[in-house]
């Protein structure tokens, strides 16, 4: 990047050099008579940190107007008044150097890159300011960070790079990760931040923006920053600036990566033999390993086949392979040992070796090595009047699961022109076309269960096989027709789904400079997004086969179309009066959005080939159901912002925004969102001057109120619902009321206080930010249950309060800076504490939703387990007391722990909150090493203190009769009479009847903390000489491994992926947590090869 700029600059300079030289000469000549007497000419050469000559560096004599620029080879020559003169070398992206001439005649130097330059410009919403003048809490993510890893969208690239921004992973191609900035505020509404691209609100989603087109992203975190976005700012605002053309010759950049994704299961899976042993043990312990009325205590082929064989050829063959057989078909036996005989075994038992049982690895049939192609070509050019940037991107993620994938084509064009001195007009056009294969997994037999192919694979039986001897798919591997367990491979070719999206967003803008201090800016953005989505279950798919003969296909198709526009009028006034800098921004805007959708579905479709493209191909000649939908919303806003700075040392920023929204009831449509913030640049104070090692020390404080537009269209009006009744077979549609109207519905409000400190020490070697915040959300939109005696069960209302407080810390350190070697470390740490302050009826918990006052939103509340019942007189007496109340427990199974005085009943009072899905600490750590042209980096990401809710009990512990997947477990981990310290209950088929199902959940809460090595990257940049020979300005090649390792506790060891938290907060209808095992339980490890070329 740095080098590219430099080379780029070189090209630019060749053209401008003549003009500039003449201009400089003119200045020199004009000052020559004054300076002539003592003047000295200094010559030298300026290089960048890579050793390439740096053209265009401004060389200035301090305190004079004398100056020059370096030429294409980095050489300069300048006349200085005296040996006391100081030369100032400055160049964008480099640290400014000041060198006193002294006796030197030649001054050559290598300029250092400035990673955090105080003069950098950042977006703060409706304006760009110098970073040093920022008064609110914001984090910048640069193009360099976005380029670190090939990512589907820029959201993934933010993970661990911006303190306070919690980005959760989502492994499914085409899905967008969940982003929560500074904790959860809204319960029913969205917690996603507002995305603003080049000053205009993003009308599609972040998948529409090619991350390679982004020049920088600023994340506004506190309300003093976000309040200027008023009713939409509460969840934070992400401002995205896309790349633009630069003055100079045409520049062409190509970036391409090829990624090989492989599924990385961290589970140590048990072999089929181990699982068979475990299931048998459970049956023996449960008294169900028997033939007729005879209980067997040892492996017997006939009993095995009867209980586990299920007349399934593969399973029976697998079981038989564990035994030795005589030629006459009888089983070989062996004499038993005396211990075995003491345990009640007969003199001879069958020869058995579970190690001979073959294991079917179902996952290999449903997964593959995914290949992700990511290519982008960008062109930029510019002259004094116009600038242009164009890019074409292609992203294709062929997922690791056979039925998933995501593909995107994106085109961007940014251009602007200044036909007149006072006028600049431009356009930003972004188009994206995407296709997602979601990979719906059609479950059979149960409405819950795995939701992807990998999960389905793990729900199969390890001794069963997908294909019979003739290579045909077996319908029910394991012959479980009553559950039923279908062969998931069937659906790979008999079901399909596809979502196509086309998004076009075009923004045009005009800038008019009336006077140097007064500017008018207009934005007009229009967005159009259409998406269509089809899903198909062919006649041969499992769900269709299950419906009985004859089987026919079902399919559905839906479309949606969003049309939006936005007009903004902005007036900027900036003026300096002595030490006072004043600025005023006024804004007026109007927005409109219109959503139209349709959906249809059909069953009994005659032929499979048409999928969802001919929904009339059934005996009705039309789809079974169809409908259309419509909604429109509009909003008008006014905003004023005032900023003031005194001596560039004391800064004040204040804003006020007023929003009016259509979806709110009459009389409640308008709302005000104020904010104010101050900053004090301590390093500018004279008393700080003595601390030479302090480059920057800025204290900030801000407060403000922002809103969240969680109110859907028409939600305040209390509309009627259509109910279909019938007279005989004649339709009798009726309209009945369903929600109580609420005319006083309004926005959710979040007020936030933020205290921040920015620092830079030791000549920028150590830079960072520390932030503390407290945010209070009120008027939370919730469906409030109302007494149904009113005729209505709920009403949408502004109730509830939520608090988030937290701390964020970011530090960047250049540990080693040498000519050929450097090492830098970036660390970001954040911690947020979320707390429900008030709910419906004030202080009352809403247990039905699993919401408790004073607790985080997503908690787990369960019974408690006090270990395992032992075979002691005390425990047996306790078991008897439970038994008297109707609770059956058994030795070797979980023992409940009552809270308070034991009454031998498991009641709600025995449950308590045991954790939350929220991590206590999120951190990201990047280390970068450079040696000459090599760069090596690795990035660690960690979420600590989050709780995961799901059973980690080894599968098979409850017996049943179908041998499925399970984790490898040491025998000593299971409780048994001879091993009373085993941590898991004794495997037993009787446990289902002896363990209260809700009690078992107490074992479900586990620490989900983890550290993942997100990527390890190695890059090499071709020396400029070689690159030039290849007609390139620069070339960089790199390779990396993404997600190679994950470390964590029980959850990670159990083979679950706590990095993907989708579904963790699911609850059932009575508010009990249902846990997150329904979602992706895998990590994709990826191997990346990439190249960046600039022409």
């Amino acid at each position: 990047m740095k080098n590219k700029n430099a080379v780029n600059q070189k090209e630019v300079c060749r053209h401008r050099m003549l003009l500039l030289k003449m201009f400089c000469m003119l200045i020199l000549i004009s000052t020559a008579p004054l300076a002539f007497a003592q003047s000295v000419t200094i010559k030298g050469n300026v290089k960048d940190s890579q050793g390439s000559p740096l053209p265009g560096v401004a060389v200035k004599v301090q305190g004079t107007s004398q100056g020059t620029l370096t030429d294409v080879d980095g050489n300069y020559s300048i006349s200085v008044p005296s040996s006391k003169s100081m030369l100032i070398f400055s160049f964008i992206g480099m640290e400014t150097e000041k060198i006193t001439v002294g006796t030197q005649k030649a001054i050559s130097l290598t300029m250092k890159d400035s990673s955090i330059a105080l003069n950098e410009v950042v977006s703060i919403g409706y304006a760009r300011v110098k970073k040093s003048d920022v008064t609110g809490a914001l984090t910048q993510v640069t193009a360099k960070t976005l380029e670190e890893r090939p990512v589907q969208n820029a959201i993934s690239a933010m993970q661990g790079k911006a303190a306070g921004v919690d980005v959760q992973s989502n492994n499914r191609p085409g899905e967008i990760s969940n982003v929560v900035i500074r904790g959860t505020r809204s319960i029913n509404g969205s917690n996603s931040p507002l995305y603003v691209v080049d000053g205009v609100i993003l009308m599609g989603d972040m998948n529409d923006i090619n991350p390679n087109d982004i020049a920088s992203m600023e994340i506004l975190k506190d309300a003093s920053s976000t309040a200027i976005y008023g009713s939409r700012g509460a969840n934070g605002v992400v401002l995205i600036t896309t790349k633009n053309g630069k003055k100079g010759k045409i520049n062409i950049d190509y970036t391409g990566t090829v990624t090989f994704d492989v599924i990385n299961s961290v589970t140590d899976w048990a072999s089929a033999g181990e699982m068979l042993d475990r299931y048998r043990l459970a049956n023996i312990n449960g008294g169900t390993y028997k033939s007729g009325s005879t209980n067997y205590m040892y492996p017997d082929p006939a009993v095995d086949l009867a209980i586990f064989g299920h007349s399934d050829a593969a399973t029976m063959a697998a079981i038989r392979s564990a035994y030795d057989w005589n030629s006459d078909g009888t089983v070989k036996t062996r004499a038993t040992t005396s211990e075995e005989q003491a345990a009640g075994w007969p003199a001879q038992v069958p020869v058995y070796n579970s190690g001979n049982v073959p294991t079917t690895d179902w996952t290999k049939y449903l997964t593959r090595t995914g290949v992700t192609q990511n290519h982008q070509v960008a062109l930029s050019s510019g002259n004094d009047v116009s600038k242009l940037y164009m890019s074409l991107g292609y992203y294709n993620n062929k997922g690791t699961q056979e039925n998933q994938g995501y593909k995107r084509y994106s085109v961007r064009m940014n251009g602007e022109t200044s036909p007149l001195k006072w006028l600049t007009v431009g356009v930003n056009l972004n188009t994206s076309l995407s296709e997602q294969k979601y990979g719906t997994s059609y479950r059979t037999g149960s409405s819950t269960g795995p939701n992807d192919a990998y999960g389905l694979a793990l729900s199969q039986y390890v001794m069963a096989k997908p294909y019979d001897d003739n290579g045909n798919l077996i319908l029910y591997p394991g012959n479980n027709q009553s559950l039923p367990t279908w062969n998931p491979l069937i659906n790979l070719s008999t079901t399909d789904d596809l979502t196509r999206k086309l998004t076009i967003q075009a923004n045009t803008f005009a800038d008019i400079k009336f006077t140097p201090w007064l500017k008018y800016h207009m934005n007009f953005g229009a967005g159009y997004r259409t998406s269509n989505s089809g899903s198909w279950q062919g006649s041969g798919s499992t769900t269709r086969l299950k419906s009985g003969l004859p089987t026919t296909a079902v399919a559905s198709y839906s479309t949606s179309e969003v049309y939006q526009y936005l007009i903004e009028n902005l007036l900027y006034a900036n003026k300096t009066f002595g030490k006072h800098d004043l600025g005023l921004t006024l804004m007026q805007s109007g927005q409109y959005a219109r959503n139209v959708g349709s959906n249809m579905s059909a069953s009994s479709i005659f032929y499979d080939a048409c999928k969802w493209y001919n929904l009339a191909a059934n005996s009705n000649g039309k789809p079974d159901s169809y409908g259309t939908s419509f909604s429109e919303t509009s909003m008008i806003s006014y905003m004023a912002r005032f900023n003031y700075s005194f001596m560039s040392r004391y800064l004040l920023n204040a804003s006020l925004r007023s929003d009016g929204a259509s979806q709110l009831a009459d009389g409640h449509k308008w709302d005000l969102f104020p904010s104010a913030s101050v900053a004090w640049k301590l390093h500018e104070e004279s008393f700080m001057k003595s601390f030479k090692w302090v480059d920057e020390l800025k204290l900030r404080f801000g407060m403000g109120t922002s809103g969240n537009s969680a109110v859907g269209a028409y939600s305040s009006a209390g509309p009627l619902a259509q109910y279909a009744y019938t007279w005989g077979t004649t339709a009798a549609y009726g309209m009945i009321p369903y929600n109580m109207p609420n005319p006083s519905l309004g926005w959710e409000h979040t007020s936030q206080y933020n205290l921040g400190l920015d620092f830079a020490f030791l000549n920028q070697r150590l830079t960072g930010t520390l932030e503390f915040y407290l945010s209070n959300t009120r008027d939370i939109l919730m469906y409030r249950s109302i007494v149904p005696i009113t005729g209505y069960a709920q009403i949408m209302d502004n109730i509830g309060k939520m608090r988030n407080k937290g701390v964020e810390f970011t530090i960047s350190s250049k540990n080693i800076v040498k000519k050929d070697f450097s090492w830098s470390t970036d660390l970001s740490v954040s911690s947020n504490k979320n707390q429900i302050v008030e709910l419906v009826n004030g202080k009352q918990d809403m247990a039905g939703n699993n919401w408790y006052i004073g607790q985080p939103l997503n908690v787990f509340r369960t019974y408690h387990i006090a270990g395992i019942w032992q075979n002691t007189t005390e425990d047996l007496a306790e078991i008897a007391k439970w038994k008297a109340n109707g609770y059956t427990f058994a030795v070797g199974q979980y023992k409940p722990q009552e809270l308070g005085t034991p009454d031998y009943k498991l009641t709600d009072a025995d449950k308590s909150i045991v954790g939350s899905t929220d991590p206590k600490v999120v951190l990201g750590l990047t280390n970068t090493f450079t040696y000459k042209n090599w760069e090596f980096s690795f990035f660690l990401y960690s979420r600590l203190g989050q709780k995961y809710f799901s059973s980690l009990l080894p599968a098979g512990i409850n017996g049943t009769n179908y041998v499925g997947y399970g984790r490898h477990v040491k025998a000593s981990d299971f409780w048994s009479p001879s091993n009373p310290s085993g941590k898991y209950p004794q495997p037993s088929t009787a446990s289902a009847a002896t363990v209260n199902a809700s009690l078992t959940q107490a074992s479900y809460v586990n620490d989900g903390s983890y550290v993942i090595v997100r990527n390890i990257s190695l890059g090499y940049k071709l020396p400029a000489k070689f690159a030039n020979k290849l007609n390139m300005k620069s070339m960089q090649i790199f390779g990396q491994v993404m997600n190679p390792f994950i470390f964590g506790g029980e959850v990670v060891k159990a083979g679950l992926n706590p990095d993907d938290t989708n579904g963790w907060t699911s609850t059932n209808s009575v508010g009990e947590s249902t846990g997150g095992t329904n979602n992706n339980t895998i990590i994709n490890t990826s191997f990346v090869a990439g190249v960046r070329v600039s022409f």
Partner: protein
């Protein structure tokens, strides 16, 4: 200058905000629609939703369809088997998280479901909204909607009826809510007050409703009169408990009006008189079975006997969220038996969540002549799977007995190891025999299908019929002509050992196998899921009232007045129809496999015992009621199995009525509420349902709870109750989640004491 022109152009592009922010409702209607006659028509149609409450989904199914002495709770197998039908974790209202029962009652009170607010109070709200808007209409519009008004009055009364049947006293709301009230202070009204309102509403409804309708399913005068009669009867029943010392009985008091029984008879006579000449059976459908056929023309739904039914239709476009879920509820799990009967449209989708108790079968005291037993239960299945894998195979003993004794002339011999089932042939038979008529186990196990019998007996002295080498023991075989072993001396008699795996069914040894029981055929819907989806919604109508019940209501009222002659006349209308009529065929299971028929304890004329078992003589005379059924001493009276608490003739008569209601109406979701209103629910479960009754109960002398000869410890049949029935369960609990939403007049949440006072007795 140019830039200023440009600017002024742009400034004019500012919006006129008033119009821009106006929200126009494009796709939705608001409540203003109800100011028109058209809107009220529409509101009335939508309000028919509540007629589906009982049949729609679990909330209605469970509250009203299980928990009587004949229909047993089976929420989840583990619950019923391990903890009995009633248990605190299922019923506890104190939990802030709703338990199963409170979740169900919450639905009855009112809850969101599938985009609609369902339940009694939302329905009452719609009725109130209708009546308020109706009052404001022009007189022309009012006239055009007068029948609709009658329907809405009926629906309001029906809503309060279901509500009070489950919960007792409840808030009485007679106005609609147009916005949030200032508080949620809704004290309960006494049932006495609510009943007065229901009676007022229904009397007006009876007056304004037409006698018939062309729109199938509309509420008519007979339906309203039937409900009114039922309500008068319920009030008369409750009057007896005014001074009861038992709180759950005292809570049944609904006022005491001396003319109630006469009013009941008056209004019950209305539909009876209107319809009694429409058939030869007093207006009843001639064949009991016709009411429950699954013919594709849905002929069952058009019987005149049906006074009101919740409507469903086969395309399922207008069937609400779930359709008629009763088509799944009571079905036994035929798929987990090795019977080659996978889940297909032929037989029900096995929810296996509610099943009959033993008394549910035994209440039919003369199965040979009362056709309702074989027309109510699905006694036998036919193999529907072509696959032979997974089917039950012959073993040495059964193949030998089949080939040599049971069917020695068979062309197809039984082969050891081969599947014994044949596609299209009988695959399962359920026999509910008595302990004194057990089948021999070898005979049962050797049938070429799976035979599930309640009582089975082992070989003499447990010696077995075969030697260790598989050869038969000399002279020890069962006489295939006489498999019922009436002399069980020296033999073990076993309760519910299935003909499949040899484990118990219907009792607590194995939760999986306990999904097997003989379920009813009343709701079997072969056209569910639009005839394609075996798991799909049911589309047959749900009968709410039928004329047979009207007769039973009137009979009870007559009997309570001491007029047994009139009561017997009404009961015999029921019996006349229940008999086997000339021209129909008896079931071959009944004639060939029913032990009481084999032994002759129940008689069928010899001529009618020849296939196809055609009936030539109407069997009515065998089952006609003469009054000895409740004399307390006759054999007939003993077979009626009255709870010992029914001490007087009137008590036994009333219990007889509920026995007859059970025989006629079980699985039609009226038993629980009717037994409850009659004050009989607790006693009858206590003495009739082993799985519900507490351990203190051993059943009755005539029908003691079964006891297995083979001890299995604390599991199995022990001769005593295995449940945790308590008197409080006769009322359902108010959910705490509901009570916590209530406030006092000042909008403060209720304190614990007030909440406790609101709750029903015992909870």
């Amino acid at each position: 200058m140019k830039k200023y022109i440009l600017l002024s152009l742009l400034i004019t592009s500012l919006f006129s905000c008033k119009d821009f922010l106006e929200e126009k409702s494009v796709t939705t209607l608001t409540q203003d629609y109800y100011k028109t006659a058209e809107g009220l028509q529409s509101l009335c149609k939508g309000s028919y939703q509540f007629l589906r409450f009982k049949s729609d989904y679990n909330q209605g199914n469970y509250i009203f369809g299980v928990g009587s002495d004949v229909e047993v709770f089976d929420w989840s197998l583990a619950d019923r088997i391990a903890m009995g039908s009633y248990n605190p974790s299922g019923w506890d209202p104190a939990s802030t998280v709703s338990t199963r029962m409170t979740a169900l009652t919450n639905f009855l009170i009112g809850s969101l479901s599938g985009g609609y607010t369902e339940g009694a109070y939302p329905e009452i709200g719609r009725c109130n909204l209708f009546l308020e808007n109706y009052a404001k209409l022009t007189s022309t519009d009012q006239t055009s909607l007068v029948a609709r008004k009658g329907e809405m009055l009926f629906l309001r009364a029906y809503s309060y009826f279901l509500l009070t049947n489950a919960l007792g006293d409840a808030p009485l709301i007679l106005h609609s809510f147009s916005g949030m009230p200032s508080n949620f202070n809704f004290p309960k009204a006494k049932m006495e007050v609510i009943y007065k309102q229901m009676i007022t509403d229904l009397r007006e409804a009876v007056n304004v409703l037409p006698a018939t309708t062309t729109e199938t399913g509309r509420i008519t005068k007979p339906a309203a009169a039937h409900l009114l009669a039922k309500i008068y009867l319920a009030r008369a029943q409750g009057a007896n408990f005014q001074n009861s010392t038992e709180p759950t009985l005292k809570a049944l008091y609904k006022g005491s009006v001396t003319t109630d029984l006469d009013s009941c008879i008056f209004y019950a006579s209305m539909p009876i008189d209107q319809l009694k000449t429409t058939t030869a059976y007093g207006g009843l459908c001639p064949n009991f079975g016709t009411l429950f056929t699954t013919t594709s023309d849905y002929a069952r739904e058009n019987q005149k006997e049906i006074l009101l039914s919740a409507q469903y239709e086969p395309t399922q476009t207008y069937d609400g969220r779930y359709g008629n879920t009763l088509v799944h509820l009571f079905n036994s799990n035929h798929t987990s038996l090795r019977a080659c009967t996978p889940r297909t449209l032929d037989y029900g989708r096995p929810y296996a969540t509610a099943c009959p108790s033993d008394w549910g079968f035994d209440q039919y005291t003369d199965r040979a002549n009362d056709s309702r037993y074989y027309k109510t239960f699905l006694t036998d299945y036919v193999a529907t799977a072509t696959t032979t894998s997974g089917g039950k195979p012959w073993d040495k003993a059964t193949a030998y007995y089949y080939n040599n004794y049971l069917n020695p002339t068979a062309i197809t011999k039984a082969v050891v190891g081969a599947v014994k089932l044949t596609l299209g042939k009988r695959s399962i038979v359920y026999i509910e025999n008595s302990k004194d008529q057990p089948f021999d186990s070898l005979w049962v196990m050797s049938q070429p299908y799976i035979m599930m019998v309640r009582w089975m007996v082992g070989s003499p002295n447990g010696a077995g019929y075969f030697n260790a080498d598989g050869t038969p023991k000399a002279g020890a075989m069962v006489n295939p002509a006489n498999p019922v072993i009436t002399n069980t001396a020296g033999r073990k008699v076993m309760y519910r050992i299935s003909g499949d795996y040899g484990d118990q069914f219907g009792i607590d040894i194995n939760t999986t196998n306990s999904q097997w029981y003989m379920g009813p055929r009343k709701w079997l819907d072969q056209y569910r899921g639009k005839s394609t989806d075996v798991n799909g919604s049911g589309s047959i109508d749900f009968t709410i009232f039928r004329l047979a019940e009207t007769y039973l209501i009137r009979a009870e009222a007559y009997g309570r007045k001491g007029d047994f002659t009139s009561a017997i006349n009404d009961l015999n209308v029921i019996r006349k129809r229940a008999a086997y009529h000339a021209g129909e065929n008896r079931s071959d299971v009944l004639v060939t496999l029913e032990p009481s028929v084999i032994t002759g304890s129940l008689s069928i004329p010899a001529a009618e015992k020849v296939a196809p078992y055609a009936v030539t003589t109407d069997s009515y005379s065998k089952i006609a009621i003469d009054g000895t059924e409740w004399d307390g001493v006759s054999a007939k009276s003993v077979r009626e199995n009255y709870p010992p608490t029914a001490a007087s003739t009137l008590d036994r008569f009333i219990n007889f009525i509920y026995n007859e209601r059970g025989r006629e109406l079980c699985f039609e979701l009226t038993n629980v509420e009717d037994l409850h209103n009659a004050g009989l629910l607790y006693d009858r479960i206590y003495y009739h349902d082993m799985m519900g009754a507490p351990a203190a109960s051993t059943g009755t002398t005539a029908f003691p709870f079964p006891k297995d000869d083979i001890s299995k410890g604390s599991i199995g049949a022990l001769g005593k109750g295995k449940g945790t029935l308590d008197r409080k369960y006769t009322f359902k609990p108010w959910p705490l989640v509901f009570l916590q939403l209530l406030t006092d007049e000042n909008n403060n949440p209720l304190d614990a004491a007030t909440i406790a006072a609101y709750q029903n007795p015992g909870y």
